[in-house]
Symmetry: C2
Subunit: 337 residues, 2 copies
């Protein structure tokens, strides 16, 4: 229908040159009040909005930031469908970005080389990595000199990118300490991979708590992944069958829910048969039955902080890593031994 108006049309309508229109709209050079008014009027009437693809070309800034999510089965669906952690994060990021006039592009990318070409193609001004990615990626990104902020990653991998973390060690400690003070001594730590820095930190925290209580390090049980209900369910089934432990520390609330369900299906009860402690404190965690004892991390705050940090980095400022505090939230899924 209507064609979008261009700057040329606005210029003609206002009887000035393209340059003047640009100066007026960007407030980037002195223009007399009267012409300014004429230009603005014309722009308004034509419903003019500058074409960012053209602007990006000259300014070399797209005002878009890429938000990169981990893939499960070649798709971000795995993560977004199962674990609302990411959703809470994304919404916070979207909000902060919009407030700073950035649009966000959402993607899960498969092959490392896709990252580079994505950034190049879209001229992304910055990148937000949600979670841990293969190490090579960061180096690759670094070599193209694109601002980035990392969430939930540790220094060993970051190539000096600023990161936003939580205090995972403390989280692990809080979880273990809570269980210990409820009389548990047969505690198991559910883990996908203790080499993952996040899990490693949490595990360190657990160990420290147990040590402080004069107990040996916790047992470790392998899980398929840290995000899904199903992997929790599977773990829960085994734990309930073996009956070797009285408490389990799970990597996420989502997984905790799976464990609890498995215990239930096996005929057991939470926390009577198995105390379960989650991680994250998702929205739903206070509503499920039993509600989840969990380590709360302020997800929204983390997302906001990361986005703000990215904005500053894109503006050329130096930024330091930041650590968000965690907190133990005691609810119904854990109990006295």
């Amino acid at each position: 229908m209507e064609k979008r108006a261009t700057i040329k049309e606005v210029a003609e309508k206002a009887g000035v040159s393209k340059a003047t229109v640009s100066y007026v709209l960007n407030n980037t050079k002195k223009v007399s009040e009267s012409t300014k008014e004429r230009v603005l009027q014309a722009a308004r009437e034509l419903q003019y909005a500058p074409d960012f693809t053209a602007v990006s070309l000259t300014k070399k800034k797209s005002r878009m930031i890429g938000v990169i999510l981990p893939l499960i089965n070649e798709s971000i669906a795995g993560i977004m469908q199962e674990n609302t952690y990411y959703n809470e994060m994304i919404s916070a990021v979207e909000k902060t970005s919009r407030e700073n006039n950035y649009d966000i592009l959402l993607a899960g990318l498969a092959r490392p080389e896709d990252y580079r070409s994505w950034v190049q193609k879209r001229r992304l001004d910055g990148l937000l990595f949600l979670g841990l990615f293969p190490e090579g990626i960061y180096r690759e990104m670094h070599s193209m000199d694109v601002p980035a902020v990392l969430i939930d990653t540790y220094e060993s991998h970051t190539e000096n990118y600023p990161a936003v973390n939580i205090d995972d060690e403390k989280g692990g400690w809080l979880a273990a300490d809570h269980l210990i003070s409820n009389g548990h001594d047969k505690i198991v730590f559910l883990s996908v991979d203790l080499d993952n820095p996040v899990e490693k930190e949490r595990f360190q925290g657990c160990k420290r708590a147990l040590k402080e209580a004069g107990l040996p390090p916790p047992a470790v049980m392998k899980a398929e992944d840290i995000h899904s209900f199903e992997s929790g369910y599977e773990a829960g089934r085994q734990l309930f069958k073996e009956k070797k432990y009285t408490a389990v520390i799970s990597g996420s609330d989502t997984t905790a829910l799976g464990i609890i369900r498995a215990v239930h299906d096996g005929g057991g009860k939470t926390p009577e048969d198995l105390s379960v402690i989650g991680f994250d404190d998702l929205r739903l965690s206070r509503y499920v039955i039993p509600s989840l004892t969990t380590i709360r991390q302020h997800i929204e705050k983390k997302g906001t902080l990361a986005a703000e940090k990215l904005v500053r980095v894109m503006e050329g400022q130096e930024e330091q890593p930041e650590m968000v505090d965690v907190e133990l939230i005691v609810r119904e899924s854990t109990g006295k031994r």
Copy 2:
């Protein structure tokens, strides 16, 4: 660090003109095998990826689609954090889009005029509306002739945009019928606004089921919104206090969870004290305790369908509305009267 390579550099390196490079890369004109090889080689070595902002400018296509979410409190957070329905949808959309070489831009827009300028600024090739928006928006969009596909909206509003729906009437019917055949006759329908076409359809379905069973139309109870745990909790609290009804039909699984929790907190049990039936069948619905009886809509399928439809519309094809089937999933949150 490294500057991104431009087509000019590739051309020089390969000893040909910019045009030739473009022809080779887009396979849009005959070029001899030998030159083609040289060009590809040069492109590879320089890690060249065409700049989409430049491409968009000439082709007048950005290969980006905008995904628009409803706002709660000026942010999409409200919806993404509470109700995973949207997340499941978005992931499906992202996947399908990527497969078709489109990137997605995520946004919740506040004022109607923002939509227009957003589309213009970003040169969006198409729009996906998730949910119902103020009527004026669609007209506005229509006037700019941008392809769009609507999800969960009904004709009265759509200005002839193709839409992807579920059979809400049937959903309502299935829910009511299930309850009736379990002996319930004091059923309440939880609703935000019966003028909302989605809710209206579901309510129609309920009424039909009750009528077919020789019962009067169901009572209606007002809820704050259809998406949040909290609005369910509030409703549940009241319902349990009044004890006038034996079963409630909720607008979403999220809300259902809130209801169940409220009953629990009041000292009651689900389904013994109140049968609760949800809508959506989210991932978590089979894991919570009690697991939710619900009307399943294949969310992922809906998202995929909608994205595919949008791709076709953007390619100039005519498209018809589509309706996805729903299905009753019986679990633990409903029981015999």
